[in-house]
Point group: D3
Chain length 155, copies 6
């Protein structure tokens, strides 16, 4: 049910991205918050604040640029984008807390837990087994918090 | 047209992956070659041979393990897998010729050129602009060889 | 002479960065172009276009976000920022052409060739000798094109 | 004593690796378990299970491919392989728990604690001092658990 | 006040670096300890000892080579060097405890807390937002321990 | 024949490394040149000069610190050290020309071409197939220049 809602929400805000230049700044902010609320869960701004207390501009850049400008672009669906981000962060292997955030984000955007595991396991081929094993540890932690048992998931 | 064929081919070989243990080795090889033929283009084995002349086992591992065992798993479609691989190799930034191979692979697996560009641009957020710019250079080279002009692609 | 001009130009545009929200988008673009013109040399937009033909948004993001929003912030001078960028790209070691661009940028922003060499050599301590040696190769190439002979530079 | 046993065990299973194709799958599994039991300590399969509960195929790939196919190849001795792995994981610096596992593995395969320290210190040259210092922290932890005091080891 | 002292100390020992070859080893050691005492805080040798108990040569190399030979070179000021090191370690993202040490070092060498935050935020452009966010976490921790509140700092 | 000479030379200079402090600087230089001459081939200093023309101190640091101080330490043999370096540079994947230099160095230090290939192939497990494939490309180039045909080598 949740993922259907996500898809509908995504369709709504993604089809409205070609706003005229005048209100662009405001739209970018709104689009960023909407995208982040899907990925991070509602109240994304409050969570970002805690991360960027000493660097408030970083919160704005993440909202406006990263999510309002880049990740919300309609030419690729949010589900594919989050799957790609999980792949990249698993392969790079040096940002475990961001990886966990995006495993959550992928699940929130409609990726199944099984697909998350698949893409992390696949990284063994491109970035080696240690990167893949650490990705699986991150997924295990996220799944536990969400009460997901593989094989019985109901996304 | 080509991508439809790919989807049909993919469905055929992906639904036959739960073979019994006895013939597993042979099946793994066949599945690996079939997957590689989609990604690399037919005759994948001959091309791999050129890369691994002094390390023939590496060709077998790529065929049997990487593609026969991992990438051909049915729980995630080949299109998503190739998109994830393009994301990861762009982010890592230290394997430009493999990145080009997988941009080709993504296009062969049904990803549109626009989606390839989207996922590479998205990596600016997670791995920085230099990684993203180098990914775009790799895509430009691949698109040129294939005669792809963005906006006019017909995958 | 050139570096003095740079400093004056930098002072002018950097003291005007607290523009009100209404014209923010336009100001960000102008600030980005001004900063890029210093770093890349005039006509930065034309050069970026060549790099981002198939990804024109990437050019806008680099102009507006990377340089208009981040690198042009007055709280740290452009000279220090370019030195830091040369350090980071040398240490990461996977974006040689961007490293060369920023060695040029550092020189354009008032860093002396000797200081460029110093910070690259220092990276041997933090990222190992191979990264440092490759950084020196990048610097050699840039210095050659600019006709810089170490010990005789006149920045 | 232990390391002599290891050498004998290693010789036994390594000289039997050219089994005919028919039983290859079974042999690969057995070879993988034997190699992992030396590196990880006996009961390697139970430990792997804990790491890969949500990704059981990863355990099989590590057993069959990584150790049964690659690491157990007779053309390079297990001692050299583990030393090389400690070097690589120290240099990459993004898999600290796997590094500790392979410091243990190196000691189990007959590398002396002094040699482990030497190869980690050497990485200061190729990957920088931070990578080397973090490698030494990993070694300190492993040595403590095993009761190893440098200078007094009796491998 | 402290940073003025640092500048004076730095000037003293940096102007004496061209000692004749005979006493070079002794001078290098003294220069290394002086530089480390500025960066790490006095008693740098005792702290290094704790890190390198099982690898005492590593302590000597850090003192003599890294700081006595490289970082103390007069051709680039210590403040710029520490800023460059913070940038590089933020971008590499795989040595968080060394990053914290050098955020401390940068503050000790006269970089303001605001400038530290600026250079870490700038790395979002060159190494991606996850690297930058993790750098900000490191800075937050260091600032807390030192009682630094941004906007009210008095370096 | 050559490798026997190497072993003898190595034994000679490695047993003389505990020189008293007075002549330490001179000994370090001599030890560095001797080690580099084995790894790089005679005339290592001339070759380093070409690499470090604009950074002559880098040549001295490589000679005195990297090879005179670290790599020449007797507690681990040069053959193991070069094998470890080939592993680390293959895994890091961002210094292809240094990797080629150390594949040469490994062969010069008595590692067989087969062992070089083995350790590079092994990195597929720890750093992924792209890193391993690029390592094999580096080895192919080195072997070609030296006229080495695998299976027929005569180290």
């Amino acid at each position: 049910m949740k993922s259907e809602l996500v898809v509908i929400l995504a369709l709504i805000f993604l089809t409205t991205t070609n706003a005229p230049a005048a209100d662009e700044t405001i739209d970018t902010r709104a689009r960023g918050i909407a995208t982040l609320d899907i990925i991070v869960g509602d109240d994304s701004q409050r969570r970002l604040e805690a991360l960027t207390d000493i660097a408030p501009e970083l919160r704005d850049w993440i909202t406006d640029f990263a999510y309002g400008e880049v990740v919300s672009r309609p030419a690729l669906d949010l589900r594919s984008r989050e799957l790609a981000t999980v792949a990249a962060l698993t392969a790079m292997g040096n940002a475990p807390s961001q990886l966990k955030a995006h495993i959550n984000g992928a699940l929130n955007a409609g990726v199944s837990a099984t697909e998350v595991v698949e893409v992390i396991m696949q990284m063994a081929v491109y970035a080696g087994f240690p990167a893949s094993l650490n990705g699986i540890s991150a997924a295990r932690e996220v799944f536990k918090k969400r009460g997901i048992t593989l094989g019985k998931e109901t996304q």
